[in-house]
Amino acid sequence: MEKSQPTIDSLPRRKFYAAAVFVLNALMGIALAIPAIAYLLVPSRKRQQDQWVEAGDVGTLVPNSPVEMSFRKSRVDGWRTISEKATAWVVKKPDGELVAFGPQCTHLGCAYHWEEKQNQFVCPCHTTLFSIDGKVISGPAPRPLDRYAIKVDGTKLKVGDLHHA
């Protein structure tokens, strides 16, 4: 460092310093940003396999008469797995085929219900009407009702994950 004739750094050298400062800081910024973005945006590893839970007895269902069945389902909530109450609107079609709708309106998540007189599902929040096969008749809901994956074991209905129709 010590020179006999002290001089201030020349311009090219100052330019090199400035460029090096920029490059090194950029490298560190990138090295930090990549894990940070991954940490915040990449979903965490899935802990659980799909699960099937028993929702109820479908032996007594009357065709075209939806019934709300409630059951307990475990849900992964961050570092916890909680067991919570869940429901499904189960419809038996005239041909015997079963459908289990998720209990929330696809607009903003309100709980809808079956209106026997209107023969429609009615959401009380913004008056979306759904037909018995889950299609939107009127109102702001953007898509048909969500459906559970289902399996039938004798007269027992088992439900799995909820999917968009």
Binding site: I8, R14, Y17, A20, M28, Y39, W79
Partner: protein, 544 residues
Amino acid sequence: MRERIERLISGIDERTGLPAGIRKFLYEEIPWSSGWHQVFGSVALFLILIQFFTGIMLSFNYAPTPGDAYNSLRYILTEVTAGRIMRGLHHWGASMIIVVVVMHMVQVFLWGAYKKPREGTWMAGVVLLLVTLAYGLTGYLLPWDNRAYWGTVVATQIGSTVPLMGPYVTQILGSGNGIGVVTFARFYAVHVLLLPPTTMLLIGLHVYLVRKHGVVPALGDELKPKRVFYPQQVFKDTVAIFVAFTILFTLAIAAKVPLERLADPTDTSYIPRPEWYFLFLFQLLKMTEGPMEVVGTVVLPTLAILALFAIPFLDRGKVTRVTKRVTAFGVVILAGIGWAGLTAAAVRSTPPQTAAAQIDFSGPTEWMRLSPVELAGIGVYRSERCDACHNVGGQGGQKAGPDLLNTSAHHDAGWMIEHFKHPSNVVPGSSMPPIEITTAQANELAALMLKLTPEFGNVIATTPAFAVQAATVYQKNFCGNCHQVNGVGQTMGPPLNGLSQRRTEKWVVDHFNNPKALSPGSPMPPYKFSAKDMEAMTNWLFTL
């Protein structure tokens, strides 16, 4: 374009004065002799900013109450993407700050940069050192594993020995009834609410004073031209920061920070140790036992801190060349030797933790839910080198035999046992050689095969050897005919889960050797295990 930018900058300048301020900061004059020896302050500041950043990141997935703290940290380590890197950066960053802060202090001390009028700068720096140590002390508890819990038990006990003030220290730390939710809440609050703003204020004061008094000139600097902070010194600072960052990043990725088992206040076998930078204090404490204990816990540390504060007032001599400051070098070397000696003594006197205490809970622990027969099956799998031809769940490259994950979906235990003994009988054309194992071993291996679902696919790779060895002994001695482990076995004797909560390791060893002496009327016969088997057995039983 250039004109536009300049107009924008001068517009901002007119309204805020910010660009002029930054320019003043960057183009400050520094003495000719400034250089590489003055980079440590910047590195320390950089590392503190990294701690703020990673700390905030961790807090997004961390719940600060004892039970949840551990589980959420485990979640960060095992499930959250890049969570392990974030925690690694925060953990190793803490240690690196201590190292860099000490280097910074040593440099300032050797160069005599604390002399008039810079006493305040030095003293603010000493407070920053104490703040750094306070971060270390409070952060140590937050994982709420055994290490955290027991380390903090010792630290709070030391606090309670302070003469006169002991009860008040205990009151403030909330540790009157032991370490629990109250102490945890307080440590967390200090760590994330009290210390960070304090740090920022102190750094502000410290940097303000450095700027006010300027960088210390060396003798002869007055004859030489001044340098400017930017870009040359900034370049040197940045290179030093880059080196520090590279070390830190490498540690965060390559060096695993373990997570021990959940804090267990009933654990009688755990050997508490503080973080490495507190080991010298710990050793000092051990050397001053009995009535002299307060000397090691309170008197000496207090004197050392007071001495640090008093340095600018003790050394009032004129500024000289750093090479002439023989006494200063002597003090630093003596302090270094003292510190290293105490730390080495502490490390040497630390007995190794038991295998049970060393289980890493930041990795997969599914094996802990296996039954003894399945664990023993892992022993057969390993000793028969099944892995030479089979993978479980994909990893390991191309091999001769099929992947064993999910074999239970197609085959039952009877099929498997027949297959082990006469492979080509059940799979015509199979190139697998018959394996020479006892019926009991075949049962164990079959039990393991049935367990190899995706959830337990990692157990063959991750189960520690001591657990396998212990389970093999357990099976060989038919312990399951009287005892239950993880829900498997009979209940004539007491179930073995939770044994560590009820008994000490010594009790368990004595009980194996002579059950009737400790449990009168017990129908359990004595078991004379080899020393290795006994060690594996007690370790494993204590993980249950």
